[in-house]
Amino acid sequence: MTETMKPLAITLTGCAKTFADGTKALEPLDLAINAGETVVLLGPSGCGKTTTLRIIAGLEQPDAGGKVMFDGEGVTPLSIEKRNVGMVFQSYALFPNMSVAENIGYGLRLRKTPTEALRARVGEMLAMMRIEKLADRRIDQLSGGQRQRVALARALAVRPRALLLDEPLTALDAKLRDALRIEIDELLRRLGITAVYVTHDQAEAMALGDRIVVMEHGKVAQIGTPRDIYQRPATLFVADFIGTMNRVQGRVANGGFVTAAGTIPWAGAPAHITEAMFRPQDISLAEGGDAHLRGTIAAAFFLGDRTRLAVNVGGEKPLILETGTRRDFKHGETVGLRIDPHGLLSL
């Protein structure tokens, strides 16, 4: 691949968005996206992630005072057609009146690319997305996965300064979503292009993002690498939204966290906390004295390679853990649990 795009750094300062009906979609937001980086905007619907992407794209204008900069140069007043960013939409936005090749070549045609160069570039894009055979198909003859490949090829054909993806995999079924996610990940790394990816799927965010921006109610809840966000969530919202988080109530005493179901040894526990948090993989089943907590099985789901258990320990919600043992679990059975001290978190 002969991509000579210089990756773009994107900076948002004080970008808020209030819609005409008065809804506040986005609180003033500052965000710096490094050149060549993949940043995932993650959050539930209505959190402002798509609005942020549309402000970067130039499809929305930020409220007065907000600034968008590409490589330090203000582009706030420029509309999308002047920003040279590639965009991939959830609904693909392919033109039904054009064939696959015509869709991919459309941006080049607008740039008055000579026919030979246009054909070569379209061929290159078709090959990159492995859709050469579809070149002459009409859009309505394509499957969802094929459409998204065409959309990616079309966005990349013009060598955009950055690639913006708005829930590109949401409309696809689970299996295809995984396959295409890996493909997109590979593509973004190979091209080294700056990419902003919007999704509500935390697994997708973890897999694709160099950094993840978790958003809630129009505000940034946390920015960090997937590992940061998973292992050191800044808020309860982030802790619950990314993966599964177990929470148990109690108090700190004598180098441990005392709960109704037993005491978890925790040497460095902050004195004031009333809730301890840990991930499912930090819990293991234990017998007798090795067990920190005791609870009763509320539910057991046999998943084949492992069993997912919900264990009631008298807290607000049962603890979730997974185990690889072959034994059968009965509802109401008492089990002992051991918590890995490295996995303990508090807020």
Binding site: K82, M87, L94, F95, N97, E102, G105, G107, V122, D136
Partner: protein, 267 residues
């Protein structure tokens, strides 16, 4: 496959309805080419009546074609942007406007024509020119163009398509001509067929708007039926068919032709 009596009953009924509808057309056409309708087909066939129509009403035929094509151009120029604007802005105002646009269809043509005459009748050159009829026709047919284009525009995700085109660098006009127009082709074609046929056959408004020098085909037809031999009237109907059918076929054909490709098919 064995077919029961129900099948034959239905087939019979269908054929009967078809015959009922087609017979008048065939009889009318026959009347136009028989020497004497009273004595029937035995009197022989002739093109005399058709020639008579051609001699007496040639101008109405050309005027009708001219008006219907001008009407088509007018409704395309006014109707497509109107439908586009209505599709882009869906609010209470645009919905009200959409309803208002249908008014000329609901109001009797005579009333519309009368209003036009009362308001603009004094404007000499305008009242006596064919443009006066054209204005009436555009008023009456515009809703059909707007409606059919709007139906197609509402069915496609116009906003995202345009955003997609814009992200590739397309300006407003490029988006409009490359993406919006080609994708509402079906609606434009349906609307065009409607407009041309309605304009060509429009009588009740035109009857009031016309002057002796701006007679359209249906007005001439009424004239012929009222004051001339039945055979001439029928021959007139035949001429009308001969004109409108090729026109509609041509429009349909134009609508289906694929746009030229800018990327070669062989890869």
């Amino acid at each position: 496959m064995k077919r029961g009596p129900a099948f034959y009953a239905q087939l019979g009924f269908t054929l009967f309805v078809c015959a009922f509808l087609i017979a008048p057309v065939i009889l009318s056409i026959l009347a136009g080419v028989t020497v004497n309708y009273q004595s029937g087909v035995q009197s022989g066939f002739t093109l005399r009546w058709v020639y008579a129509v051609w001699d007496g009403y040639r101008d109405t035929i050309f005027l009708s074609i001219g008006i219907s094509l001008a009407c088509l151009a007018g409704t395309l120029i006014l109707g497509i942007p109107a439908a586009y604007a209505l599709a882009k802005r869906q609010n209470a105002f645009s919905r009200a406007l959409e309803e208002l646009l249908v008014m000329p269809v609901a109001v009797p043509g005579l009333a519309t024509a009368l209003a036009l005459i009362v308001t603009y009748g004094g404007v000499g050159g305008f009242r006596t020119s064919w443009v006066f009829i054209l204005v009436g026709h555009i008023l009456f047919t515009l809703p059909f163009m707007v409606r059919s284009v709007l139906a197609v525009l509402s069915a496609i995700d116009l906003k995202t398509l345009e955003e997609g085109a814009a992200s590739l660098g397309a300006t407003f006009w490029q988006r409009f001509f490359h993406v919006v127009l080609p994708n509402c082709r079906g609606g434009i074609l349906a609307g065009s067929l409607m407009v041309v046929t309605l304009s060509m056959g429009e009588f009740n408004m035109t009857w009031l708007l016309h002057t002796p020098l701006t007679k359209t085909l249906p007005v001439g037809l009424a004239d012929a039926y009222a004051s001339l031999r039945l055979e001439i009237g029928s021959a007139y109907t035949l001429v009308f068919f001969l004109m409108i059918v090729p026109l509609l076929v041509a429009l349909q054909w134009l609508g289906q032709a694929r746009p030229t490709k800018f990327v070669a098919e062989d890869e």
